[in-house]
Structure formats: structure tokens, C-alpha cells
């Protein structure tokens, strides 16, 4: 099975939307290329969409939207850089820096949005992260034309299939935050390198010892990466308006940068990688659902079940048997009754026959037919009654035989027995065919009453 790219699915979904909104698109020539391949229907649906997109320029529209989306991302990244610079600058706005306030300025918003992101996993998914949605919205606003609005909608739809959209929007959001944090840290470094700061903490109600534990708790993880933790002494010395020596300031700045690096940048970076991995996974699992009503018509047309081959030769005209109207010889002997192709279950005789009539019984086999024909060839019968089953089909062979028999009789009557229990009644058909064979309507009987007098038993 060929592996399809995200773009293939995207194109397919865009076309599905387009056809759902504006009706089916002409595809007869494309179908010929696809119909007889051995791939599963879902692959054929994608193939059709890709071919069509190439033909109608939809691929270009999607590429354009992709360009727009990228542009939107960079625009947001630019904003993020400004935010990062602003954030760091405001955190180090004064020469004496309140450590806790600086930390809140650097990490506060980030912590809150990150917490929201985590909480979003508890609720059923409906939207996405705010930043991610802003990106989608921006991408849409940059697009122009009816197809252009379908492209992002299709993108959302296919990614939503395996929760991929959540991971992608999260990745966008984390990506933006990584930019903010990175520029923030660079700005911090630049400011710390270029200006003289003093660090301290202030409190009105908290005991000093709590600052020692808070500071050392925050510093623990960065310390593992080599950032320094101020000792208890330095922390004590940095309270209120006292200031420790320049060496302590360097330790404090290392602590601050370490905290932003670990809790800000690295956390977002790790989340970004996780989200990217999950997005990739979701994209790999995207499938075309051929049972969707939107594909109902397509499935049928894409998987040929049968086709006509054509006919061997034109059909000949309908053949009809013809009887000769004038028997050659003078009649002799007694009148005759015969049952032709009657059901073995049908009673015989169908009604009481007069003693003067010769009862030939039900004709079954070929041999019986020969005997009768031989008998009738010896002497022309004065009158003949043929009993037929009107429920059966009057085929050519039967009509031929009836015509053959009637040629050997002076008068022929045909009784079309109509079995009442049967669903099929082909009486009109019998009449039509017998008339074509040269019999008059007066020779055909549906009921016993109209039969000629010689057969009526008294």
C-alpha cells in the first residue's frame, strides 16, 4: 500500500468539502486511470483527489495557504521575540531587582498558560490552545477566495481525526513560548552583562527562613545543570535593603537565569518535542474513511463491479411457426383429444370426454410425439383438440409442434387451460403467439363452454 503524505490527505479532504458544498466535480477522464487498479478504495479516493487537484490547481491553493500559515507563524514569532525582550527588560527594570517579582514577571504568564494547557487534557477536546487558534485564525485571514477558506477547514478536519490538531496547536503554542523564553534569556544576559544590578528579596509577613527554602528549592534543578545556588548566608544577606557583595550578585544572576532556563525554556522545549512527536504520530495514523456518506457515490464508481462486453451479433427477427390452412386430404376416423406439455400433476382428462372421441392422453416424450404424428399422417383427423397449460411459456418448439399437428387435422381447436391457483397467467401471450401462427381467435378457448360441440359430453 502506498504511503500517502499529509498533503495528499489534505487535498482529499479539501475536495470532499468542495464537493459537499458545491456539488460533484467532473472526473470521467480521471476515473479511467484509477478504476482498474488493484488498490483499496480509500487509496483510489486519494488518487482521484490528487489527480484532480493537479488538474484544477487546487494543489497550488493549498501550497499558498501553507505559505500563509508559515508567514503567520513567523509574524507571531516576531511578536514573541519582542515580548521576550520586553519581558526581560521589565523584569530587570530597576537597578535593584526584587527577585521574586522578577521571577513572576519572567515566568508568571508562562506558568499560568502552561497550567491551562495541562488542565485542558482533563476536559473533552473542543478547541485548542489560544496561541494555536490565533495562528489558525491568522492563516485564514491571510487566505483569499472560496477554496482558500476550505483549505484550512480541511486541514483542521483531517488533523482532528486522531486528536492531531490538539497536538499541533499545542506545538505551535509551545514553539512561540520557546521563542519568548529564548529571547528573554538572551535579553537577560545582555542586560546583566551591560548593567550593574543588585538583587534582593522583600517581605512584610513571611519569615526569612522561608526564603531560604524557596530559593534553594527553585535552584535545585538548575543547579544540576551547573547553575549556582546562593548559600543560606547570601540569601540572608540579600534581604530587605541590605546588599551583599558583587560575588553574591553574580550567584544571584546565575540562579535567576537558571530558573528561567529550566522552568521556562527547557520545559517548553520538552513539551514542544513531545507535541511534535505526537503530531507526527497522529499524521501517520490519518486514514480516509470511505464509509462517509460524502464518498458513497465515489466508492461505487471507483470500484468497478461489472461492465458490458457487448453482443455477439444482432438479434434475428422473432421466428414464428406457421400452419398450413388447408389440409390436403379428406378426413377420416374419430376426433382426437391430446394434452400437450401439461404438468404431471394436472388431472387427465380435464373434463369428461364423450365416448366418440379418441383420447390420446398427455403427450410427454419424444416417442409419444412420433407415434401421434405417425398415426395422424396415416389419416387426416376430422377434428383435433389440443389442451395446453396457459401458465407455461408458449415457446417456439411447442408452437411448431402445434402447427405440425394442426396441419394433419381438418379442424383444430386449442383449449388453454388456466390453472386457477397459479400466479402466472400467460393467456394473452398464448393467444398472441397462436394467432401469429395462423390460428383464428374462434379456435382458441379459455373455458369449456366455448369448445366445439363434438367434445361436449352429454
Amino acid at each position: 500500500m502506498p504511503q500517502h503524505s499529509l498533503k495528499d490527505y489534505w487535498i482529499t479532504e479539501t475536495l470532499r468539502l468542495r464537493e459537499a458544498h458545491w456539488g460533484p466535480i467532473e472526473d470521467a477522464t480521471l476515473l479511467h486511470q484509477i478504476r482498474h487498479s488493484q488498490e483499496p478504495v480509500s487509496d483510489k479516493i486519494i488518487q482521484r483527489a490528487v489527480l484532480m487537484a493537479k488538474r484544477d490547481g487546487l494543489a497550488a491553493t493549498i501550497d499558498k495557504w501553507r505559505g500563509n500559515a508559515r508567514l503567520a507563524f513567523w509574524a507571531m514569532a516576531l511578536l514573541a521575540m519582542l515580548t521576550g525582550i520586553g519581558m526581560a527588560a521589565s523584569a530587570l527594570g530597576t537597578a535593584h531587582v526584587n527577585l521574586l517579582l522578577a521571577l513572576v514577571a519572567l515566568l508568571g504568564l508562562h506558568a499560568i498558560t502552561y497550567l491551562f494547557w495541562l488542565l485542558s487534557f482533563l476536559a473533552p477536546y473542543h478547541g485548542g490552545t489560544l496561541l494555536g487558534q490565533a495562528w489558525l485564525w491568522l492563516g485564514k485571514k491571510l487566505a483569499r477566495g472560496p477554496d482558500a477558506t476550505l483549505a484550512p477547514q480541511a486541514f483542521i478536519n483531517i488533523l482532528n481525526q486522531n486528536n492531531g490538531l490538539r497536538w499541533l496547536l499545542s506545538a505551535i503554542s509551545h514553539g512561540i513560548w520557546v521563542v519568548i523564553m529564548a529571547t528573554g534569556i538572551i535579553t537577560l544576559l545582555a542586560l546583566l552583562a551591560a548593567r550593574q544590578y543588585t538583587f534582593g528579596w522583600e517581605t512584610t509577613i513571611l519569615p526569612a527562613s522561608s526564603f531560604v527554602s524557596i530559593t534553594q528549592g527553585i535552584g535545585f534543578l538548575p543547579h544540576l545543570l551547573g547553575f549556582s545556588i546562593p548559600s543560606a548566608d547570601i540569601i540572608q544577606q540579600s534581604s530587605g535593603l541590605q546588599t551583599a557583595g558583587p560575588a553574591s550578585q553574580a550567584i544571584w544572576s546565575s540562579w535567576l537565569i537558571g530558573a528561567v532556563m529550566v522552568y521556562g525554556l527547557l520545559l517548553r522545549l520538552a513539551s514542544l518535542l513531545l507535541c511534535l512527536w505526537k503530531t507526527r504520530q497522529a499524521i501517520h495514523q490519518i486514514q480516509i474513511d470511505e464509509t462517509l456518506p460524502a464518498y458513497a457515490g465515489l466508492v461505487d464508481r471507483l470500484s468497478a463491479h461489472s461492465e458490458h462486453i457487448g453482443v455477439d451479433a444482432p438479434a434475428p427477427a422473432l421466428q414464428t411457426a406457421r400452419r398450413n390452412t388447408h389440409p390436403a386430404r379428406a378426413p377420416a376416423g374419430s376426433p382426437l383429444v391430446v394434452g400437450l406439455e401439461l404438468s404431471p400433476r394436472a388431472p387427465w382428462p380435464p373434463f369428461t370426454l364423450p365416448a366418440t372421441v379418441h383420447d390420446q392422453g398427455k403427450l410427454e416424450s419424444r416417442e409419444q410425439r412420433y407415434q401421434l404424428l405417425a398415426h395422424m399422417s396415416r389419416q387426416t383427423v376430422p377434428a383435433l383438440l389440443i389442451v395446453c397449460d396457459a401458465a407455461q411459456t408458449p415457446d417456439r418448439g411447442t408452437l411448431h409442434f402445434i402447427a405440425d399437428l394442426s396441419n394433419l387435422a381438418a379442424h383444430t381447436d386449442i383449449y388453454l387451460q388456466n390453472s386457477p391457483g397459479k400466479a402466472e397467467n400467460r393467456l394473452p401471450l398464448w393467444k398472441e403467439r397462436l394467432q401469429q401462427a395462423g390460428f383464428g381467435l374462434e379456435q382458441l378457448h379459455e373455458t369449456q363452454k366455448t369448445l366445439p360441440p363434438w367434445i361436449q359430453a352429454n
Partner: protein, 463 residues
Amino acid sequence: MTMEPNKILHLAVVGHTNTGKTSLLRTLTHDTGFGEIADFPGTTRHVEGARLFLNGQAAVELFDTPGLEDGIALLDYLDQLKAQTRQDSSRFDGPESIQQFLDTPESRQRFEQEARVLRKLLECDAGLYVIDIRDPVLAKHRDELAILSRCGRPLVPILNFMHSSPNYLADWKESLSRLGLHLSIEFDTVAPALDGEEQLYQKLALVLDSHAATLKALSEDIHRQRKLRRDIAYNMIAELLIDVAAFRHTCAGDEESIKSATALLQDVIRQREQESIQALLTHYRFRQEDYPDQTLPIEGGRWGMDLFQPQALMEMGIQVSKGFVAGAMAGAAVDVMSAGLSLGTATLIGGVIGSVWQGVDKFGKRILGKLQGYREITLDDAIIRLLGIRSLQLLNALEMRGHADQRPIMLNTETVTGQFKEGDLPEEILEARTLPQWSKMSEHFETGARRNAAIKSLARKLR
């Protein structure tokens, strides 16, 4: 599974005239347009072929042949030919005698139809001998079978019209056994069993050993296709229900406007049902053109009955709520101030929140409309139930229908049970109620992943 390429199985469909050979072809090809069907002999007077595909590759070629009509006379003629060439009869086998017949002028005169059948059967791998079991076993049938067996090809009897009675099934089976044809296939071309086609190919595989792999694969493929067709059909019905449940029409608050808006709603819903019926017919490969005498191949009081007549609901046994209005306003529920929020279960709120991102402005407009005294007209629950029941019945009827069936589709109301008759409406429908953009008929129609998911889970409940 190995399948040699280009090894296509050729099957000739033979039999007495008017036994349903063309019908068999229609049903096996799922093509209502194949050949011509009528209740008289000699409707088909030429050989017409159709190709069946397996995964896009030709697997089986079926040939519809003219009916045999003159078997007794033809057997006589064959015997006559045989007698005249008695001198080298030691090397004279069945197929050769048939070949000899095909070279005679009679094969282009009186026996032209029969000659076409025999010529085709000689070219094919096997013959399917179609029998109308309503016909008694007569001498002409036995003679026909004798002629066909001289072609030296395996013959598989297909017993057609299995559902009719009285019939001569036992007689036929006994006669076929005497001729050495012990395996026959029961297949009603007009109303085939649900898995009739699959079984037909499986049984054929027993007889035609050399093509067993192809036939088994074909049988499995047909099973798969049938399941897929069914799944799609349920999704189509679910989409219909979502579409009508989500549909809303806004109008001014006075009675005149509400009346005209209701009329519009009724038209929209009626049209949507027609569209859905058409789609289902097409999906099951029944075509409108094949039923020239009817506006739709669906008949009977219940179907002819308008959706918005209270009687239509009663016939289906649907409980009508107290609020249901008859007459010009039938089937419309007028929603005054709720904007769908009055339905307020957790899922609904979820649905509304879900819609917020994609339609904040639209939702806002709706709220504004409410405040300005506008009304929203939606479809009454009872009509949704009726639509659900009707559609499921149509699906049932289509599944059971052969492509040779000429009668209009009839529906059976006795079998109506389940969720749509009584019980709560599925929650997907309730969710759709709050999301007008889910309706295809809405001008703000949006078909997203959430709508698709709702269609699929609703379809699962319909099964």
C-alpha cells in the same frame, strides 16, 4: 493466494426460454440496465456478455444467451446428423457432434438461437443452466439438458424463483440427479438471499475446481463490498437525520411569518428526503430510469403519504407529543427564546462550546435575533422519527432486492420497532439540534470532523 493473470472464468448462462437468464445476469452484475427482461419467450435473441471485476481486474465473464425453445426438434436433428455420419462414429464424441451441427445451414435457419447458445457454451468453461422451478419437468427440458451435456462442459443448475409456490423443486432435483447433476444452486434472481451471491460463487468453486481460487476470492470480495455498502447506507441515513435535526429557519415573530416559514421548512425537509431516497437507490444501483412508469420505484400508501400528515405518523406507530400541530403548521417546532440552550445537558453545552470557535459570530447573530423577537423554526421530533423509520425500511427493502425485480418497492410497516418508534432520540440528534451549521440545507453549512463523528456514532445506533 495465487491467481494467474489473464485466467478469466468464462460462464455461459443457458436454459429454456423465459426462465430468468437475463435476470440472473442483472442480479450478478448489479446492473438494472443489462439486457431486456419481459415475460415472453425469446426476449433475448443474441448472446450478450458482462465482465465481473475482482479488485479492478476482470475475473469472470458471464454470457447471457438466447433461451432454448426447440430442444425436442433439435435433438431429432442431431440424431439425424449422427445417423448420416455413422461411418466414422467410433471417433464421434459430443462436442464434435455439436460442432458438426454448427456447420449445417439449419444452424442459421430454424435453430439459429439454439446454435448461438451452443457455440457460446463450447467457448466457455462451464454453463449455468437456469431453471424456473414453477415449470414442471417436461420432455423438452430433458432433451435440452441432453443437448447441452453434449458440449462437454460442466453444467451447474441454478434453481430460480425459489420463493414461489406451488413449485416443482423436488421433481427438478430428482430429474437433475438422474442426469448426474447432483449439485445445484438455489438462487432467486428477483429476491436473492442476503448472502445469495456469495454462496453462489462458493458453490461454483466446488464444481469448477480449476477456478476455485478466483471464485472464492470473488465471493469474499462480494461479502466485503456488501458490508461496505451497508455501512455507507447507514451513514447516509444518519446524515439525513443530522441534516434535518440541525435545520433551523429564522423568521419574524408574527403568526403570518411563522406560517410561511413553516411551509418553507416543510419543503426543505421533503426535498431532503427525496434526495436521500435517490441517493440510497443509486447507492444500491437501482436507477430511476429503470422504472419509467413511476415517479419513484416506491409505492404504497405509506410512502405516497406526505411526511407532514399526522396519519403518516400514526401508521408507523409514532407517539405524537401534545405540542404537535396539524395542518399548515405541522411538524414545526417553534423555538422562542432558548437558542437551543434549554436542552442543556452536558454534551449539549459541550457541543455549543465546540461551535463557539468556528462560529462565534453566527451564534452571536442568533442570540441577537432572539432578542429582536425573531423565532426559530425547527423540525418536530415526531417527523425525525418518521424519517428514520422510513429510511431504515427502504434500506431493508433495497438489501433484499434483486436487480432483476420489476415490481415497485414495497415497505412493511409491521416490522417497525426500535429506538425511533419509542424511546429517546439519540443524543447525536439532540446535539445536532443545537448546531444549525451541521445542516446541509443551512447557508452556513460546515462539515467538520465533529459532524462526521456524530454521523458515524448515530449510524452505529441505527444498526
